[in-house]
Amino acid sequence: MAHAHDSSSERPAILDKVRPAELPRSPLILNNRGFHWITDKVCGIVEEETPLWWKIMFGVALFVASFTFIGLGYLVSTGTGTWGLRSPVGWGWAIVNFVFWVGIGHAGTLISAILCLLRQKWRTSINRAAEAMTIFAVCCAGLFPLFHVGRVWFGWWLLPLPNQNGIWPQFRSPLEWDVFAVSTYFTVSTLFWYMGMIPDLGAIRDRATTWWRKAFYSLLAMGWRGGNRQWSNFEMAYLLLAGLSTPLVLSVHTIVSFDFAVSNVPGWHTTIFPPYFVAGAIFSGFAMVLTLMLPLRAIYRLHDVINQYHIDNMCKIILATGTMVGYAYATEFFIAAYSGNVYEKFAFVNRAFGQYWWAYWIMVSCNVITPQLFWFKKVRENHSLVWIICLFVNVGMWFERFVITCTSLANDYLPSSWGYYSPTIVDIFTFFGTFGFFSVLFLLFIRFLPLLPMAELKMVAPQADPHAH
């Protein structure tokens, strides 16, 4: 102790010589691009003549989307029996697809809200497109439970509205909680997305040359003038919406997981579901963000604003959440073994080695093994490989929902009531078509709205610092 006292009173000479290490931050915008370059780049995307690839893609997307609407039309005119749902599996692809699409949406909110609260400036380059992805994914997701009700024209009975039967929704049901969670999620995400876009819509308005562009963007920009008094309220509102979206996004997938966890079915009735579902949602959503942004970056040459640093960060989030999901799979097995509940034990052994073993191992290999490749820098720098791994993650996460939904229902308590579920062609068409529906909405977004948040990009540029010299 005495020795320590001596040394603290005397300042070692070396301290005057050492300098703190320089830790340069990775630049968010490469090649020292200025404000005008950003405006030109982003506005240029909506101002240029409609490119040929867009027209072709839009045609293909419309064609694919028609599968969903033909499938749903056939379902409504014939009955839900066309969906391959029969006892004991009453929740088939429809619920799988619903959870899959809602999960995809969650990365958009993570990027726009949670990373905003954490002051992760790299989010700015991707946040607008990711939020758009959220909204369109929720549109796709909503179709499935809406049509799953069977008589879709009574879908409004889910809402707390008076009807001719004099009855009301039953608020003890997780399915009713889901109605509130998903509709709130859709509404708040849309408000957040639109409000963030107003200054950029103003920028497009100010550059408009034709009267219809001027009218369209003026209407959307709400007369935004960019005064600092406006910015002050805008930034406060933006921060608050980020703060509100954060608990919202966590609650939405928590409530989606309650659809399963509140029931008494072995393999569903577990308390790990909420965090496990949220991690899985972010995992699949980031994979979808990269699936969309890598081609867009190449087409529009956005390499200066979406650079390797952004891609690295997204890959690392996929790696982290993928590892969490893998840990959750292991925990489920451990708890099943430790619980001493024979049905619970059987449910998990049956998942891995029962009649749906192939789905289980597709899930594990895509979700747990493939993302581990992101430990390697060489993999993260090879964008074709990143894109392919993200496709694997998307496939794996779809299978995760399939495994959870179908294996638990197909083999629950009494072997006499076991069954095997397979989708019909109507199921397959309806799901396949949602990718077209999603693409139609996303292509319209690219064409008419600012793909990147210009104001936020300018804000993170080094020239935006008022104390820079």
């Binding site: 009301w168 600092n228 406006q230």
Partner: protein, 180 residues
């Protein structure tokens, strides 16, 4: 004051660099101006302090929305499942704050978000499509890469020539008069 022309909205001048407009704003604040604004393509960090602006009032409407949402959720679930058509499901009480909690939670967030969203529009006096600033030929560049300080005619300190000279002394370029 006497020469104040009612048809003039104010005077504007532009800046090309963030640091220039930032320091100019500090000087306008120190000169005691009340009705003025700095128009920028993006929010400049620290500009609220440089302009001497108070904290934004938007959170009040967020709180109001949140409280309204929670109460609405409580009334909704109580009226529907306990008062108008009492239901016994799963041996749970007719109404408690526990079983419909996800509904109350979502209603709170939904209404708070509406409060925030509309609060931003209300406190920013938007939508407004006919502002005199839109007639300025160089205003379109403010959403791109130019910064603009506007001194408004309704400020008691406003005097056309003096204000123009004041803006010139701040280092502003392209000083223009905005007509109503």
């Amino acid at each position: 004051m006497n020469e104040r022309n009612e048809r003039i909205h104010g005077v504007a001048c532009t800046f090309r660099k963030v640091s220039d407009v930032f320091h100019a704003a500090e000087k306008v604040r120190d000169a005691g101006w009340k009705n003025w604004d700095v128009h920028t393509p993006f929010p400049i960090h620290g500009m609220d302090q440089a302009m001497g602006l108070p904290r934004s009032p938007v959170p009040r409407l967020t709180l109001l929305g949140g409280v309204t949402g929670f109460i609405t959720g409580c009334l909704l679930t109580w009226y529907m499942n306990s008062y108008d058509y009492p239901l016994i499901v799963g041996g749970k009480p007719y109404w408690s704050v526990i079983f419909p909690f996800p509904v109350l939670y979502e209603c709170t967030i939904l209404f708070a978000a509406f409060g925030t969203f509309f609060g931003q529009f209300i406190f920013n006096r938007l939508p407004r499509h006919n502002h005199p600033l839109f007639d300025l030929p160089n205003f379109a560049r403010v959403s791109d890469d130019t910064f603009m300080i506007v001194l408004e005619a309704r400020d008691p300190q406003f005097h056309l020539d003096e204000s123009r000279n004041f803006l010139q002394s701040l280092g502003g370029q392209e000083i223009t008069v905005i007509r109503d």
